[in-house]
């Protein structure tokens, strides 16, 4: 049985082009603005997923590669 390299399938399945990274909302900085909402969820649950973290890293590296190509 031949050895199979799963790298191609893994790379294709990451689909980082459609990875939507949650944008942090800029909180209002007024004196009466609530500093912290205890009931609100701290972060998007997707961001704690390992594949999401890897995808985020990949996106940064991809941007750097594109920057190098455009120079």
């Amino acid at each position: 049985m031949p050895l199979i390299n799963p790298a191609k399938q893994l790379y294709a399945s990451m689909d980082i082009e459609n990875l939507d990274v949650p944008v942090k909302r800029s909180d209002s900085k007024g004196l009466l603005a609530p500093t912290r909402n205890a009931m609100a969820k701290e972060q998007d649950p997707r961001t704690s997923q390992p594949a999401f973290k890897v995808g985020h890293h990949m996106l940064l590296l991809r941007k750097e590669r594109e920057r190098l190509k455009n120079v």
């Binding site: 049985m1 390299n5 799963p6 790298a7 191609k8 893994l10 790379y11 294709a12 990451m14 390992p50 594949a51 973290k53 890897v54 890293h57 990949m58 590296l61 991809r62 750097e64 590669r65 190098l68 190509k69």
Partner: protein
Amino acid sequence: MFDAPIPGMSLTHELGARPWQSPPQYTTVDEAVEYYLERMSTDEFMDQMADVLEMNIPVTTLANTIQLAGVMDGKHTVDVGMLVMPLLMEMIMLIGDNAGVKYDTGLTDAPNNTTKDTLIEAVRKEMQQKIDESEEEPEAEEEVTEEEPKSGLMARR
């Protein structure tokens, strides 16, 4: 094909004697990513990787080899290695782009109409052998001696 392990080969050592049979050094993807990025960011590694990419070795093969070495060294599990592999590919491609090397990603299927160099070499050797044989044959024919003229009483003149 002949590099495949023989049945029962995994049982020839005591259980736990191999690095991958004990708990891994990096248990999470974050730790593994940090380990690889730090290691791959060194000048020495980048120079070596650029050399390897110039040899036209696919990025997929390199990434798989690197993560497999990590598993065998007991750095992380196979699962973490699978998750990290796309990142390794992206990092290798970044190194290649940074060094200005034209590399093979391994993501596209190899075209079937290309002929391998080894096949061309085999055909060339075969043809050369045939040419050598055909050059040797005429020398053997020259050895045939001419018939001596008959000088008997009954010989035709």
